[in-house]
Symmetry: none
Subunit: 196 residues, 4 copies
Amino acid sequence: MKQETVEQIFRAAVEIFAESGFERAKMDDIAQRAQVAKGTIYYHFKGKEELFVALMNSGMEKFTDVVRRATEAHQDPADQLRGLLRAKVTYLYHHGTFAKLLLSEVWGSKERQQAFRARIRDLVELIEGVLRRGGDSRFTSSRDRLHETAVAIFGAISVTVLQEIFRAEDRELLEGDRIEVMLDTLEPLICGALRD
Amino acid sequence: MKQETVEQIFRAAVEIFAESGFERAKMDDIAQRAQVAKGTIYYHFKGKEELFVALMNSGMEKFTDVVRRATEAHQDPADQLRGLLRAKVTYLYHHGTFAKLLLSEVWGSKERQQAFRARIRDLVELIEGVLRRGGDSRFTSSRDRLHETAVAIFGAISVTVLQEIFRAEDRELLEGDRIEVMLDTLEPLICGALRD
Amino acid sequence: MKQETVEQIFRAAVEIFAESGFERAKMDDIAQRAQVAKGTIYYHFKGKEELFVALMNSGMEKFTDVVRRATEAHQDPADQLRGLLRAKVTYLYHHGTFAKLLLSEVWGSKERQQAFRARIRDLVELIEGVLRRGGDSRFTSSRDRLHETAVAIFGAISVTVLQEIFRAEDRELLEGDRIEVMLDTLEPLICGALRD
Amino acid sequence: MKQETVEQIFRAAVEIFAESGFERAKMDDIAQRAQVAKGTIYYHFKGKEELFVALMNSGMEKFTDVVRRATEAHQDPADQLRGLLRAKVTYLYHHGTFAKLLLSEVWGSKERQQAFRARIRDLVELIEGVLRRGGDSRFTSSRDRLHETAVAIFGAISVTVLQEIFRAEDRELLEGDRIEVMLDTLEPLICGALRD
DNA sequence: CATGAATGAGCGTTCATTCAT
DNA sequence: AATGAATGAACGCTCATTCAT
């Protein structure tokens, strides 16, 4: 049970999937980049779909963990929201390959969608929780609107970061302080959600 | 030239592309649903990619027009933003097939991305324009942040609506008043961007 | 609807299937021998299995027809049985490729078996009918034993001819009068079934 | 050397080969059913083909022994033939897995065929011997026809039993007295070969 | 304008076999 | 004697595209 091989495959797979998307990604390319034979992938994963789902589940788990920790590091709901925001933006910006897959593939096939719903719901509920603890805001009144607000915030952050990533790729540079610009942009929008 | 044939192909193509995504969509299926022979598609379009791009350009154009008109119907920037918001949410919710393609395929392959950049920039700039005319807000200070804010708003709206569409599909019903819920949710967030 | 192409594929397929058996037969080889592209086969047949079943159904139909006509050419049951015997032996010996498939593949996979049962039952019932009309023989007493007798006759003929075919292949010659030897051998055995 | 392991592999192999046929049988499945690692099979056998041939040789040997003993238990040729018949039918019916392989795989690939020829010839010659000792029958005149008659008898028995086995599987029951029905059916046919 | 039979490069997957432990 | 992770050649099937009619 060489954990190393699976790790190699995982690393190669994220890259290839992110570069080409699920459909265009070739198992041959993943094998080559992982420096294993094609059969080796199939020894560890049932198929392309399973590899992808395993990948995304693992990715979403790590991602959600980071964001959750950043949120729980604070007491004040406003600080929690800011912590969550910074963590999410930073993580996505630094894991561009993952960020691309998140937005482009999750909405793809019905089956894959189902697999991610639960994972994404975790994240959205994290946001929802912070909003709820925000207390006397007008959003507290309706559970539905709280959820919707969380979804909107999720969308605003994800799309903003992805846009930045493509911008960086076009200009072939990844400026660290773009993160601060994004935070400055998103904070007022999102923290409005806590205002009464 | 029979405009009718092209129209049939267009209609079939939106459906098929939206159901399966660009890669999984089969020209055979499009031809069958359009009730034309496969060769006929190739008589009118150079290939799959061109068909898709033509489709999305046409879709984005209509979409942007609707949103633009809704925006220009008002004078006050705050009203403009609200009009834009309502128009965008309503249009996307009622054109679910188009909404799915917008989020799932735009981030896909490099080439397709390029084709959409310009179209999406139009929309984002529409938002940007409203924000700029919002005047004395602190977002006016930086052109970059204005653009980023517009992108974030674009993301918040798109993801929220898409989420609602999937929710509706799961429950197999499309409630009209969900639009009002979304608007109630998004308005405070987005109009916060105009507040000083 | 070029009937010719399908005909070419059919001809090539019988040969390849008979040479290598169902599993070892390669679609590439069939395509090559049929002088069509591989895709062409899949344009006309859903897959390997369907091609094979179509092939065998068609083969069994022709075969059964020939045997049936030879049987019905006579009035006397004994003559009918002799006619049937001669027709079956002759046909199988001259269609060695088909004969091989008949014995080696029919017992193969459960699915394929099902597909052939009906066809083989037709043949066996043909034999059964002749035996029944044989009249006062002791086999008439039991329907079951009539059926079993027919099956045994079917087996005796098939295995004998197949054995001769392999013998001929080993010696690389196909002697016409081997058919007479087989007939002389099988007739006493089989016509015993009509004796009282 | 642990004889036990080889025995386990053997038992598993007969089952798997009979269930799926040589080509479709997977070494993985054999290993799993034998409860050994895949490598273990290759430690004891050179490969799939060798395992199969070893299996069938062993099976044919047991089978031929049983039939030979049943034949030699009698003095009168007619009794010998009846004993042989009963032994063969009973053995095959009770070893259905082996019976299936006998008919479906022997005619398969050229190589496997060669391996079985000798073994099957033994059986056929056993029958031939009895027929020859049958004495003054008209079949004695020609060595060739004696051999052919033996082959035909071999075929009649094998196909009849196999047919019964499939019938039993369809109805999911294995009636003991079906053996008597088969014997009653085959005896008149076959013993006709001894009649003058 | 329109057709649909034909194409073939390309890809996911399988599985007998090997070998270091 | 036994293991099981790793291999890679092989194969069935797909589908965008072409072209003669």
